[in-house]
């Protein structure tokens, strides 16, 4: 029946062609593979399985896609693949995080069973003194990577059980990556104290001559009957073939059946029904991985990686806060500078004001002097007239032959006295007019106020001044510029008499008082010049405000300035008949 066979073959071919035509668009099925030994190695390793599936499951084109750990995680998470082939540890992680479900477990020739297939051998140099896992504390260890199942996680669990936290208690935990053979070589060469290897690798390397027997020793070897390799750890399930959450059930079923029916590979690998992965659960719990990740003791690194985005946001906020703080700081600095500048300007202005006030003071003194011109003239005329009288009197006595020495000498003495009086007056006026000759000294306030009043009485004989004060002997000691105080007193008296004159009552009594008040003395000048309005009183201290037709409006402003400068106060009080202007000066603080 060769013809028949041929015909069948041809038919089959036709079918194949038609099938090819039909499968012109065969559904592509992507099978992800964990490429822990590199992409090419992985594709080569799983080529057999893919060939079988492509052969056994029609209508689909199975494509192998090799990923390293992070890529695989990403691909699975994105659902870019339909199936995945990975080790037990990795599978366990995805079962928890991505909901993948195993459909078959690799049945390896070296395994006791699919669920007890691989372990980890912790190797040290043959001549090392290390015998127990607990002795690894503080030592330098090599492992493939944190994600590596056989070459880190499995061994790590054993360390944890032996009381050594591989993340904290080791001197150094160095991840070398793949291939793991390099770990074996590094340990042999003494570059590290110990290394984590996948079970059976040591035996393979010795078989291949890469290592000599006895160069490396497996730490804490387990006694597992029937298992051909030395292992430090217990055994775990082998690699799993798993379907993703989104993969069609029908396809999953077809693949499952196909895998289970797959003949053994030349190396003796087959697929078996999915192994029980409970042992993984324990491992994850011990290592606080996967679903038990939240059990892991929190380290800064964990925190950072786990809360990357939160931390990023926090960091961003901190940065913003920092920027804000810096900005605020800058603004505060700038504002402070502005304030300082404003303050400086104010100071400058106050300085200018002071200078102007001094000039004003001077011009006001001159103004006061001007208003006193007739008083000054009178004050000088009196002694001159007296001198004239005495001199002519003496002359007449001599002419009349009345040469009694006593009256003549009296006349001469009088002339001397009066010339001294005139001299004193001139001196007083000069002091009064002198600019910036402010000299603070300890003075008897009463004496100077009294003198000012007397000077005023001379200038204004019509004034009726009543004293209501202490005795002339009382010592009312203040620290003051006597000339200025007299000027103020004079000003107040001038205001009083002017106010009264305007009311046609120049002769009404002006009461001058000096009383003790608090820690100082108050000098009051009370007139009967009629009442000022509240508003006028409020404005009286302003320079150039005046109620007089011929006033400069400087008197009170200047007086107030002078009294302020003496640390005193000047005030005006409205009274029934007129105004009481008064100033208060603190008494002198004696140091003794």
């Amino acid at each position: 029946m060769p013809n028949l066979q041929t015909a069948i073959f041809v038919l089959a071919c036709c079918f194949a062609v038609i099938g090819g035509a039909v499968a012109d668009t065969p559904q592509r099925v992507r099978v992800a593979v964990l490429a822990d030994k590199g992409v090419e190695a992985a594709e080569e390793e799983w080529d057999y399985v893919l060939d079988w599936l492509n052969h056994d499951v029609p209508g689909y084109e199975f494509v192998i896609v090799a990923f390293d750990h992070p890529e695989l995680r990403e691909a699975v998470h994105a659902g870019n693949v339909d199936f995945l082939i990975t080790n037990a540890g990795n599978y366990g992680e995805f079962e928890y995080s991505e909901g993948v479900s195993r459909i078959a477990t690799l049945d390896s020739p070296l395994a006791l069973s699919p669920s007890r297939a691989v372990g980890s051998a912790v190797v040290v140099r043959g001549d090392s003194g290390l015998t127990e896992l607990a002795q690894l504390r503080g030592k330098h260890l090599l492992a493939a990577s944190h994600d590596a199942f056989c070459c880190y996680q499995i061994a790590a669990r054993e360390l944890v059980e032996a009381g050594v936290d591989p993340e904290k208690d080791l001197g150094e935990l160095e991840f070398t990556g793949f291939p793991i053979q390099s770990i074996a070589r590094a340990v042999r060469d003494g570059k590290a104290d110990a290394g984590f290897l996948k079970t059976c690798l040591l035996e393979q390397m010795i078989d291949s001559g890469a290592l000599k027997a006895g160069e490396l020793r497996v730490l804490n070897p387990q006694d597992i009957p029937g298992y051909p390799c030395q292992t430090t750890s217990r055994l775990y399930p082998d690699w799993a073939f798993a379907a993703l959450k989104g993969t069609a059930t029908d396809l999953s079923r077809k693949v499952t059946v196909s895998l289970l029916e797959m003949p053994s590979s030349p190396e003796g690998y087959r697929w078996a029904i999915p192994a029980h992965y409970a042992v993984l659960d324990e491992l994850f719990r011990d290592l606080k991985l996967g679903r038990y990740a939240n059990l892991q003791e929190v380290t800064l690194t964990d925190l950072v990686s786990r809360h990357r985005y939160t931390l990023l946001v926090i960091a961003l906020l901190i940065v913003l806060l920092l920027i804000h703080t810096i900005r605020v700081d800058y603004l505060v600095t700038r504002r402070t500078r502005e304030l300082q500048r404003a303050h400086q300007e104010k100071e400058d202005m106050a300085e200018a004001m002071r200078e102007r006030q001094q000039a004003l003071d001077h011009s006001s003194r001159l103004a006061v002097l001007g208003s006193m011109a007739s008083a000054i003239a009178h004050e000088l005329k009196q002694p001159l007239a007296a001198i004239d009288n005495f001199a002519r009197g003496i002359d007449r006595r001599i002419a009349a032959g009345r040469l009694e020495p006593e009256p003549l000498r009296d006349g001469c003495n009088e002339i001397t006295l009066q010339s001294q009086r005139a001299d004193a007056t001139i001196e007083r006026i000069r002091n009064f007019a002198r600019k910036g000759s402010s000299t603070m000294q300890s003075v008897n306030l009463l004496a100077y106020v009294r003198e000012a009043v007397e000077l005023f009485e001379v200038a204004h004989p019509e004034a009726n001044i009543q004293w209501l004060s202490m005795n002339r002997q009382d010592d009312t000691r203040v620290k003051a510029d006597p000339i200025q105080i007299q000027q103020v007193t004079f000003n107040l008296l001038k205001n009083a008499i002017d106010a009264q004159s305007m009311q046609g009552r120049a002769r009404a009594a002006i009461t001058v008082s000096l009383e003790r008040e608090g820690a100082g003395y108050r000098v009051g000048v009370r007139d009967q010049g009629g009442n000022l309005t509240e508003e006028q009183v409020a404005h009286l201290f302003e320079p150039f405000f005046t109620t007089k037709s011929d006033g400069l409006g400087l008197g009170l402003a200047l007086s107030k300035w002078i009294i302020d400068a003496h640390g005193g106060t000047l005030k005006l009080t409205r009274e029934t008949a007129g105004v009481c202007a008064s100033f208060w000066l603190p008494e002198e603080q004696l140091d003794e």
Binding site: D388, E457, N464
Partner: protein, 208 residues
């Protein structure tokens, strides 16, 4: 009564001025009384004449003008020489209207003041003499009888005997007797003298 009896009163609140005025007047031979205020003068003045008052216009409490007014109220005719430091014309006019003897500006030349004082004293003396004469005349007039006084008044008014007799309803003879007696008592020798005396005494005009 002569200048030797005169007292010059000086009232000035300024010590130096007061003393110097007193010294000057003293040097010129006048008796002086110096006082510091108008009040002091008014309280101490005993009506002495002759004399004059040298008065400062500007003084506290009581000014010169007030002193003048008070003296006027008291009918004291002491001549007043005002001294003013300020040549205040309205005040000078007012003072003169009220009978001031003079108004001088301080400081005044010594001879101006002394001249004024001299004149014032002379006026004071004259016033005093006039006052004495009037008092004498009044005494004489008062010594007349009612009829004699009536007759004298009519004679002073220029009436003749007949007219007087008819006015007073008495005889010519009787008029002649009264006239003789009145002239004798008044120590005059003519009717013109009678008229002068009556005028001097300020006797009210006779009725009719």
């Amino acid at each position: 009564m002569n200048e030797q009896d005169a007292i010059i009163y000086i009232v000035d609140d300024d010590d130096a001025m007061r003393r110097s005025l007193a010294y000057l007047l003293d040097s010129a031979g006048w008796q002086t009384r110096a006082l510091a205020s108008g009040r002091e003068f008014l309280d101490s003045y005993d009506g002495h004449v002759p004399g004059c008052l040298v008065l400062d216009v500007m003084m506290p409490l009581m000014g010169g003008m007030e002193v003048q007014q008070t003296l006027g109220e008291r009918r004291i005719s002491l001549p007043i020489i005002f001294l003013s430091a300020h040549g205040d014309l309205p005040m000078a006019v007012q003072a003169m209207k009220r009978g001031a003897f003079d108004f001088l500006e301080k400081p005044c030349k010594d001879h101006v003041l002394l001249d004024a004082v001299g004149r014032a004293v002379r006026q004071s003396i004259k016033q005093s003499l006039d006052q004495e004469l009037v008092a004498e005349v009044r005494t004489r007039i008062e010594s007349l009888t009612l009829r004699e006084r009536e007759v004298a008044a009519c004679l002073a008014a220029g009436d003749c005997n007949k007219t007087i007799a008819r006015k007073l309803d008495i005889s010519d003879k009787t008029v002649q007797v009264h006239r003789h007696n009145a002239m004798e008592k008044l120590q005059v020798h003519s009717t013109a003298e009678i008229a002068r005396l009556i005028l001097l005494a300020g006797e009210p005009k006779p009725p009719g």
